[in-house]
C-alpha cells in the first residue's frame, strides 16, 4: 500500500478550479517529483494535500487514513510536513527558534532533532543565534527544511526548494534532500529544475492544465522523448 | 426582492414613521427633527464618498464639521466693532506678517540644498527656522489674544451672507482634508483612522482654547440664518424654509454625485477601490484619485456641518463630542449601505429619527426601571440616572455597528453593482 495516495483531486481557490483530476501515489521512503509548466497546478497540488485549499472532489489517503481536507495543524500530527516556496521562515526569530517552532506540536524532548538538523545543514550551527531573516537565500531554505523536519515527518512536502538559488546552492540543497531521504523520510517536491529533480526521483509526475500528463519513475520520464520534448527541452515555451 | 421595490418600501416606512412623529409631537418638533436629519444626510453623503467609494477611513468627522462651523461663524457672524476699533487687528496683522515671513524663510531654507547646502545642515536650519517662527508668532499672538479677550471678547465675524459662510466652511474643511490626505492617504487604513482621530481632537482643542478667535467655552450665539428666523416667521414656517434649503442641497448633491459615479471617473474610482493592485498596474495614480475623493468628501461634510451648526444657532466648541456623533454618522452610512448615495440619505434620516426618539424612550425605560427597583428592592437610583440613561444610546450605536458589520455588511440599501459588458 502506498504511503500517500491522492486520487483524482479537483479543487482551487474560490470558484475557479485549478486542479482537474490530479493523482499522485508514492511509497514510503521514496522521492516523488512533480514537474510541469507554469500554471499546471504543481504547487496547488501540494497545498490541496496539506489542507491549504478546499478539495472539491477526489480523495487523499495518507498512511492508510483518509485525510482529505484535514486542517494543516492536524496533518502535522499525522506525519506530514510542508515547506512553502516563499516566506518559509520566521524572519525575526533566531535559527534555533525557527527549529523549535517546527517542533511546536511535540511535547517530548527534541534537542536531538535540532542536532540532527545541524548535522544535515552544518552552516546553520554557526548561525543558530542569528535571526533567520538575515541569512542568505540558500541558508534560509535550509532553515525552512530543517523546521519542517522537526516533527520527524514520514513525508516531507517541498514547494520549489531551489527556486531563486544559485547553482552551487541548488546542488547542495538537492544533496541534502537525498540525505534526508536516505534517513527514512519520504519526499514529495515540486521543481522547476525538472531534469535535476527527476534525476533523483523514484516517482515523477508531469502535470499540465491541472491534470496528470505522464507518470513514471524519474528515469522513465527522463528517457521518454515526448516528455523531453514538451516539458524538459525548450523550457522557454512554457515559461 | 426587487431593489427599487425595496427602496420604495423602505422609504414609505420611513415616511410613515416621520408622519407618526409629526402627529405625536407636533409640526414644530417634527420639522426641526427633519432639518437636523437632512444636515446629517449631507454629512453622510460626504462620508459615503470617502468610505463607500474610496474605502477611506475617516474617523475625524467632527473635526471637519467643527472647523467648517467655525468658518461659518467667522464669515457670517455680525462684525464686532469693539475689536476693529482697538489695537487687536493691528497686533494680529503683525503676528500674521511674522508668520508669513517665518514660513517664507523656512520654506526657502528647506530648499537650500539647491544652492549647495549639505542635506544635514539644511534639515537643521529648517527646523531651527520653524522653531523660531513658532516661538515668535506665539510671542506676538499671546498679548494680542489677551488684549482682544479683555477688550472685545472675541474678534467676531465679517457679517457676510450665510451661504458664503457655508461655502467657505466647506472649502476650509476640504483644505484641512487635503493637508491630512497628503500625509495619511498612502498609509494603511488603521493609521489613517488614528491620524484623522488625532486631527479631530486637535481641531477641537484649538477651537475650545483660542478664546480670542472663537470665544471658546463661552460659545457664540445666535448664529444668523440663511432664511428668516423663528422670531420673524414662527417656528414651523421658518424651520420649513430652512428645510427647503437643506433639501435642495441634498438633491443637488445627489444628482451631481450620481452623475459623477456613472461617469468614467466613477468607474475608475470603483476600480481603485475594488482592486487597488491592478488599478495601480494600469497606471492609475491611486493616491491622487483618493486625495480628490477625500477632499470632495470633506467639502461636503463641512457643508453639512456648517448647515447643522447654523441651525442650532449656537457655536459651542465643546459640543463636538468627537466619537459619539462621528459614529452616529458612521452608523448612518453603513446601515444605509456604503457606496449607495440613496442608502446614505436613507440611513441618515432613519438613524437620526431613531436617535432622537431614543432619548425619551431611554428616559422612559429608566424611570420605570427606577420605580420598579424602588418598589421591589428598595433600590435607590443614583442621582445622575438621566445622564446615565443617555449613555445607553452610545452603547446602542456601538452594538448597531458591530451587528451591521457582521450580519448585513452591505447595509439596507446595498450598493448597486454596475455591470459592464
Amino acid at each position: 500500500m502506498p504511503l500517500l495516495e491522492m486520487t483524482n483531486i479537483h479543487g482551487g481557490y474560490g470558484g475557479a478550479n485549478i486542479l482537474n483530476g490530479v493523482s499522485i501515489a508514492i511509497e514510503a521512503n521514496q522521492i516523488g517529483v512533480i514537474v510541469g509548466p507554469n500554471g499546471a497546478g504543481k504547487s496547488t497540488t501540494l497545498k490541496a494535500l496539506f489542507g491549504l485549499l478546499t478539495v472539491s472532489e477526489g480523495s487523499i489517503v495518507f498512511d492508510g487514513k483518509t485525510v482529505t481536507n484535514m486542517a494543516p495543524e492536524k496533518l502535522v500530527l499525522q506525519g506530514l510536513s510542508y515547506v512553502p516556496q516563499e516566506f518559509n521562515v520566521f524572519p525575526t526569530m533566531s535559527v534555533e527558534e525557527n527549529l523549535e517552532m517546527g517542533a511546536y506540536v511535540r511535547r517530548d524532548s527534541f534537542r536531538h532533532l535540532i542536532d540532527q538538523v545541524y548535522d544535515y545543514f552544518p552552516p546553520l550551527k554557526d548561525k543558530r543565534r542569528q535571526p533567520a531573516g538575515e541569512l542568505s537565500g540558500g541558508q534560509r531554505q535550509m532553515v525552512a527544511i530543517g523546521r519542517a523536519l522537526m516533527t520527524e515527518p514520514r513525508l516531507l512536502l517541498l514547494d520549489e526548494p531551489t527556486a531563486g538559488l544559485s547553482p552551487r546552492y541548488m546542488g547542495e540543497i538537492f544533496d541534502r534532500i537525498i540525505a534526508v531521504n536516505k534517513a527514512g523520510v519520504g519526499i514529495l517536491m515540486v521543481e522547476q529544475n525538472a531534469r535535476q529533480a527527476l534525476a533523483l526521483a523514484h516517482r515523477g509526475f508531469v502535470l499540465a492544465g491541472g491534470q496528470n500528463r505522464f507518470t513514471g519513475t524519474g528515469a522513465e520520464l527522463l528517457a521518454d522523448p515526448e516528455v523531453a520534448k514538451s516539458f524538459l527541452g525548450g523550457g522557454a515555451d512554457h515559461a | 426582492m426587487n431593489p427599487s421595490l425595496r427602496e420604495a418600501g423602505l422609504f414609505a416606512g420611513l415616511i410613515l414613521l416621520v408622519a407618526g412623529i409629526f402627529a405625536w409631537l407636533g409640526a414644530a418638533y417634527g420639522v426641526r427633527m427633519l432639518v437636523e436629519a437632512s444636515c446629517y444626510a449631507i454629512i453622510a453623503l460626504g462620508l459615503t464618498i470617502q468610505w463607500g467609494y474610496a474605502g477611506l477611513f475617516n474617523v475625524g468627522l467632527m473635526g471637519f464639521v467643527a472647523i467648517a462651523a467655525f468658518t461659518t461663524v467667522l464669515i457670517s457672524y455680525p462684525v464686532n466693532d469693539v475689536f476693529w476699533s482697538g489695537d487687536g487687528p493691528w497686533m494680529l496683522g503683525q503676528a500674521a506678517l511674522t508668520l508669513a515671513i517665518g514660513v517664507a524663510i523656512t520654506l526657502l531654507l528647506s530648499r537650500s540644498t539647491r544652492i549647495g547646502v549639505p542635506k544635514g545642515l539644511r534639515t537643521a536650519l529648517t527646523l531651527v527656522a520653524a522653531a523660531i517662527t513658532y516661538l515668535a508668532v506665539q510671542g506676538q499672538l499671546d498679548p494680542a489674544a489677551t488684549l482682544i479677550e479683555r477688550e472685545a471678547g472675541f474678534i467676531g465675524g465679517f457679517g457676510l451672507p450665510v451661504w458664503m459662510g457655508w461655502a467657505a466652511g466647506g472649502v476650509v474643511a476640504g483644505l484641512l482634508g487635503w493637508a491630512m490626505g497628503r500625509i495619511t492617504l498612502g498609509l494603511r487604513a488603521d493609521y489613517m483612522a488614528i491620524a484623522t482621530l488625532g486631527i479631530a481632537e486637535i481641531v477641537k482643542a484649538f477651537l475650545k482654547n483660542a478664546d480670542w478667535l472663537t470665544r471658546g467655552t463661552l460659545t457664540v450665539s445666535p448664529l444668523p440664518w440663511p432664511v428668516p428666523t423663528p422670531q420673524e416667521l414662527g417656528f414651523v414656517a421658518s424651520r420649513s424654509a430652512y428645510l427647503a434649503v437643506t433639501a435642495v442641497m441634498i438633491v443637488v448633491l445627489y444628482v451631481l454625485l450620481e452623475r459623477a459615479w456613472h461617469s468614467p471617473w466613477g468607474r475608475m474610482m470603483r476600480a481603485i477601490r475594488d482592486n487597488e493592485v491592478s488599478a495601480a498596474a494600469m497606471g492609475k495614480d491611486i493616491n491622487r484619485r483618493r486625495l480628490e475623493m477625500f477632499v470632495v468628501g470633506n467639502f461636503i461634510i463641512g457643508l453639512g456641518g456648517a448647515a447643522l451648526i447654523t441651525f442650532t444657532t449656537i457655536f459651542d466648541p465643546s459640543s463636538f463630542a468627537p466619537l459619539n456623533h462621528t459614529f452616529l454618522i458612521w452608523v448612518m452610512v453603513i446601515l444605509g449601505g456604503a457606496g449607495n448615495n440613496l442608502g446614505a440619505i436613507f440611513g441618515a434620516l432613519l438613524v437620526y429619527v431613531i436617535w432622537i426618539m431614543s432619548e425619551p424612550v431611554a428616559i422612559f425605560l429608566f424611570t420605570n426601571a427606577e420605580q420598579l427597583g424602588e418598589r421591589l428592592f428598595g433600590w435607590e437610583a443614583p442621582a445622575d440616572l438621566y445622564t446615565r440613561a443617555l449613555q445607553m444610546r452610545v452603547f446602542v450605536i456601538g452594538l448597531t455597528i458591530t451587528l451591521v458589520l457582521r450580519f448585513a455588511p452591505k447595509g439596507l440599501l446595498p450598493e448597486k453593482v454596475v455591470k459592464y459588458d
Binding site: F50, L52, P72, E73, V76, Y82, P84, F87, V89, F90, T92, M93, E97, E100, M101, Y104, V105, T151 | F57, L135, G139, I183, T184, L187, R188, A189, D190, Y191, A193, I194, A195, L197, G198, E201, I202, A205, F206, N209, L323, W330, I334, P382, D384, T387, R388, A389, Q391, M392, R393, V394, F395, V396, I397, G398, L399, T400, I401, T402, L405, R406
Partner: protein, 343 residues
C-alpha cells in the same frame, strides 16, 4: 569644599523642579502608555488591526479594581499597601477574561468570515462605543477615588537642596509594576513555548499554521496579556490620579503613537515608545522660563525671559503624540524598532 561650591552655583531649586515636572511625570505617564501600548502592539502583530477600545479596557480594569475594593475593603490595611493595588492581580485576571470574551463575541466571528482589516477596525470601534456606554451607565460620569478610607497615600520627599524630589506611593508601584511586567513579558516571549509561538504568528501566520501552531491559542493568549496589562495600567493610573470613565479618548492617541513609534508588533518598541511619548509630553508643556530665570545674571540685557515659555500650551498636550505619530509615519513608517507596516 569645591563640590559644595559647585552645588551652590547650580540652580538646584529649578533643577529639582525640572526633575519633578519632566522626568518623574514623564516616567509616570510614559509607564502608563507603555502598559497600554504593549497590548495594542501585540494585538496589532497577531490580529493585524488597531484595537481602539484599549483605553476603555484600561478603564474597565480600573473599575473592576474599584468593585473589588468595595467587596474587600480591609485587605490593604492588612498588608500595608493600598487595597486596590493588592487586589490588582484579580482585576487583571478578570479584565483578561473580559478581553477573551470580547474576542469570542465580536472579533472572532469577523475573523472567521475573513473580513478586511479595516472592517475589524470598525468592529473594534463599535466595541469601544459599547464599552463606553456600559461603563458610564453603571459607573456614572463622575470622578472616583481608588483609595479606600483606610488606605493612606504615602508621599516620599527626597531632599535635594532646597526643593524636594516628590514621589508618591502609587507612582512607585507603577514603576515597579511596569518593570516587573516588562521583565516577565521578555521572559515569556523569549523563553516559553507559547511566547515564541506568539512571535512566530506575528512574524508569519501562514507558516505558523503549517507548523502546527494553533492560532486560536495564540490569539487567546494575546488577549489575556493585553487585557491584564491594560487593567494594570488603568488601575495604577487611577490610583495615581483619579478614576474617570472617559479615560479612553484621552489616552488612545498617545498609546497608538507609542505603539507606532516603537514599531508595530514590537513589544519592547512599545515600551520605549510609551516612555518617549510620555517624556515628549512633559517636555513640551514644561515652562522653560523656570530654568532660564536663574541664568538671568549671565544673559545679555536685551534678552527678556517671558513668564511662560513652553513649546506647547498645556491645553494642547494632545498635539504632542499626534505630531510624533505623524512624523514617524512620514519619515519612518516601520517605527524606530522596525515593526511591520503591511499585511
Amino acid at each position: 569644599m569645591p563640590e559644595a561650591g559647585l552645588l551652590a552655583i547650580l540652580p538646584m531649586n529649578e533643577l529639582v523642579f525640572f526633575l519633578n515636572k519632566v522626568v518623574i511625570a514623564g516616567l509616570i505617564i510614559g509607564s502608563v502608555y507603555a502598559l497600554g501600548a504593549v497590548g495594542v502592539t501585540l494585538i496589532f502583530g497577531i490580529l493585524r488591526f488597531a484595537h481602539f477600545p484599549h483605553g476603555d479596557m484600561m478603564t474597565a480594569g480600573a473599575f473592576v479594581a474599584l468593585v473589588l475594593l468595595w467587596m474587600f475593603p480591609g485587605v490593604g490595611a492588612a498588608v500595608g499597601l493600598p487595597t486596590a493595588f493588592v487586589l490588582m492581580p484579580i482585576a487583571m485576571a478578570v479584565t483578561a477574561l473580559l478581553a477573551v470574551g470580547l474576542d469570542r463575541m465580536f472579533y472572532r466571528p469577523m475573523r472567521k468570515s475573513g473580513v478586511k482589516p479595516v472592517v475589524m477596525v470598525m468592529t473594534s470601534i463599535g466595541v469601544m462605543l459599547m464599552m463606553q456606554g456600559l461603563l458610564r451607565l453603571f459607573a456614572g460620569t463622575g470622578t472616583r477615588q481608588l483609595y479606600a478610607d483606610t488606605d493612606d497615600k504615602d508621599i516620599y520627599r527626597i531632599p535635594l537642596g532646597g526643593r524636594d524630589l516628590v514621589i508618591t506611593e502609587p507612582q512607585l508601584m507603577l514603576f515597579a509594576t511596569t518593570i516587573v511586567a516588562v521583565v516577565a513579558l521578555h521572559m515569556f516571549l523569549t523563553r516559553s513555548r507559547m511566547g515564541k509561538a506568539m512571535r512566530a504568528v506575528s512574524d508569519n501566520p501562514d507558516l505558523a499554521r503549517v507548523s502546527g501552531i494553533s492560532i486560536d491559542h495564540v490569539v487567546r493568549t494575546t488577549w489575556l496579556i493585553a487585557g491584564a496589562l491594560a487593567a494594570a495600567g488603568g488601575t495604577l493610573l487611577a490610583l495615581d490620579v483619579t478614576l474617570k470613565p472617559d479615560l479612553s479618548y484621552n489616552i488612545i492617541l498617545p498609546i497608538f503613537a507609542a505603539a507606532i513609534v516603537g514599531g508595530v508588533g514590537q513589544p519592547y518598541g512599545a515600551i520605549a515608545g510609551g516612555l518617549l511619548v510620555g517624556f515628549s509630553e512633559t517636555l513640551a508643556v514644561f515652562n522653560w522660563s523656570v530654568l532660564l530665570r536663574p541664568m538671568r545674571p549671565y544673559l545679555p540685557e536685551f534678552i527678556e525671559i517671558p513668564a511662560k515659555l513652553a513649546f506647547v500650551p498645556t491645553e494642547y498636550k494632545i498635539v504632542v503624540p499626534f505630531f510624533i505619530l505623524i512624523a514617524v509615519l512620514i519619515w519612518r513608517p516601520t517605527g524606530l524598532f522596525k515593526g511591520r507596516v503591511n499585511n
